[in-house]
Subunit: 436 residues, 2 copies
């Protein structure tokens, strides 16, 4: 787990700020849940591997010695949402659209862009099965990424029920379909031969393997894979309903900023088991793994409520977005990297009171002001301001204090001028504007 | 631990936003540390009671069965800061001023404004022993509280070394001084007789008890308690140095927004053991307990670094601030309480594509837009918008879609008008402005 020093925090806050504003323009409302959940809420929701990766908290007090855990750290933001929807059903609107930007914890082996504590930026729409829900999620993701400066992303889309129909049509028995999906999900990583080997290991017959690889090995330039796959699943009713759903979603996104970004990909499977309908994932060329992903999960809330509520969500991976933005140098030059706009320096301890007063005046003008706290040699103080990248130093000597003035030094231009203390703020703001 | 539904999050974000801006005007930079620390980092830093209240995390994998804990949840923001300063010393400036606004966890019994997960808003200055540091902290707290709308707070101030001098002068032996402080800290809660009894229980002689109560029982209208206490400690050098330090701090704050808010209180002790100099606490009349507190702790970083770095900090209690602001109704009416400015309603499913396009246009204009996802009866859709407090509904019927227009309904004024789709955004913004 990592510490975030000031420049890291500023970059993260910049990205979170943009994502929040976009989510709010789509009518999503903020929700926050505690870092800690009852352990039963989390266990069994993320598969066997997930159970292993949950951080578990020891019982307190006299029970501590038993070594038992009753609480656990949040593992994602979707299961807590399902709990909240079940718990506050009467206080929440019939169609609840929420965003949630909070850290989650997984006892995973760290890797590039993967940490044991990381932020998720989730949006979820509950209460409707309409294709407009998926389309709006794609549009919101596109808006967020485009406002961050991404233009080269692709939103891959597929459908869980279409996958089932393909597998059935290819002759994979129902009890082998999960295994087959796990193997097929690795197509990008291990290639067709690797997948074929893994399918064989999992006991899938040769004929079925060949049929599957033919469907999943799309031509990158294929204009309309969906039509081809629809033909493959033929008269399978569930499959055709899934095809129609995907067509509706893609059609609706054409009216939004996601136009041209959404691409059908029959090999997209997504790891989590709770998806029931459309699934989506965002990729850019220079990052293995995705910038985010999501899908429809109409049964998860039912695990808490005893009554299903349709739901569809999307999660952006903040750390991965930051990795790519850092590498591509995508942060605006206006993002603050200094602790202050101006530092106040005094010649001796008797100037401290005047420094407080001038600092208050400059802050009132909207400036970020650092008061150098000790009466060190003035040259040393100016050097300190320079080393911190602070562009202006306001000097308070005996003359200035007597006259109610302040001498403002522009460190990069190496110029200085003396102002009335009440006028110095405007002069510094003007100087900052000229520096751009 | 609590969930924060949308209105709760908005109120908290409002308060955090103001506090952040004020901290940044004082040259504090943002820092964030992980929720989880190594257990050794935390144990032994908060006293025996603190150790009990730390949430401990089970070892993972094969060690899980041992019941041993190797990690723990952050208990405050000061100890992680000390760790960071020791760990990144070469990357941090000589005088590091940071703010940190993150949740901490304590396995405490919940009470009004006290929770097991709560946010702290900390500012700390490292690297200087100047009284200007304390004065600026008082000024920053005052600015933050005043911008939030508080005007009736008092910043009580005292000094750990002055307390020691008073106890010594009263005849309390060195090994009894901690006990005496714990008893005296309850003066506000249990009154002078209660404190006297507790002092007696802890073996403090009657003469010392009488002397102590005389010093600590200040007259509420006393103009200059510091002079009286300074006279009591007499020639004690440490005591007189503490008095001079307090005078310097109070004198400097007179030049800031904290003028008149800072009041010497000899009975202020503060619980934490790591304080070494000035200590401060903020109170308002309608809250038992404080809105925040802090002080100087010149030795804590040394516990991690092996070399002392002077430090002084202040922590605002976000949950208590929120409790009082909710009770006093201090939130601005402009704070959003609705999911959207406008909701788009369509008459049937064929309008969904047009709805996406109009939503994109309205969002581009800066509006928060909800698209009603299902083709329910139009009256039902409008009712839904009204129930959510959404002020405008944009209707897209067959005629509107054909003509490239949209009919905008103002739900409170019960008026409606039809606009070109490209002009509707400006009209709705104008309508929102008129509503105020």
């Amino acid at each position: 787990m990592r510490d975030f020093l000031p420049d890291d925090v500023r970059r993260r806050e910049y990205v979170i700020g943009i994502i929040k504003r976009v989510y709010e323009r789509y009518g999503f409302e903020p929700l926050e849940t505690p870092a800690v959940e009852n352990i039963e809420t989390l266990l069994g929701k993320y598969g066997e591997e997930g159970n292993q990766l949950i951080f578990k908290i020891l019982k307190r007090g006299e029970h501590e010695g038993t070594g038992q855990a009753d609480l656990a750290l949040r593992y994602d933001l979707t299961v807590p949402l399902a709990r909240v929807v079940a718990q506050y059903q009467s206080k929440l609107p019939r169609m609840f659209k929420r965003y949630q930007i909070q850290p989650v914890w997984r006892a995973d082996r760290p890797a590039r862009g993967r940490f044991r504590e990381f932020y998720q930026c989730d949006v979820d729409s509950l209460g409707s099965t309409s294709a407009a829900v998926e389309a709006e999620l794609c549009a919101a993701m596109s808006d967020a990424l485009m406002e961050l400066g991404f233009n080269d992303f692709v939103i891959r889309i597929n459908h869980r029920e279409l996958l089932t129909a393909i597998l059935t049509r290819a002759g994979v028995a129902a009890h082998q379909q999960n295994d087959a999906l796990i193997a097929l999900d690795k197509l990008d990583k291990v290639g067709p031969q690797g997948v074929d080997g893994e399918l064989a290991n999992r006991g899938i017959e040769e004929q079925a393997r060949n049929a599957l690889l033919q469907v999943f090995l799309r031509d990158a330039n294929e204009a309309d894979g969906l039509t081809r796959v629809a033909a493959f699943v033929g008269g399978d009713e569930t499959g055709q309903r899934a095809v129609a759903n995907l067509q509706a979603i893609v059609g609706l996104t054409a009216q939004t900023n996601a136009a041209g970004k959404v691409r059908f990909d029959p090999s997209l499977a997504r790891g989590l088991s709770y998806y029931t309908g459309a699934i989506m994932e965002i990729n850019v060329a220079d990052l293995a793994g995705s910038l985010g992903g999501g899908g429809r999960y109409d049964n998860l809330v039912g695990m808490f409520l005893g009554q299903d509520i349709p739901a569809c969500g999307f999660s952006l991976g903040l750390e991965r977005i930051l990795v790519v933005m850092n590498e591509r140098n995508m942060f605006p030059p206006t993002l603050a990297t200094t602790p202050a706009d101006v530092m106040i320096a005094t010649f001796d301890a008797s100037g401290a009171g005047a420094a407080m007063g001038v600092a208050a005046t400059l802050r009132q003008a909207g400036l970020r002001v650092l008061v150098f706290p000790d009466a060190e040699k003035i040259g040393k103080q100016i050097k300190y301001a320079d080393s911190r990248g602070i562009p202006f130093v306001a000097l308070l000597g005996e003359d200035e204090i007597k006259a109610g003035t302040v001498t403002v030094k522009n460190l990069s231009a190496q110029t200085q001028a003396t102002y009335d203390q009440s006028a110095a703020g405007a002069a510094i703001l003007e100087g900052l504007k000229r520096r751009g």
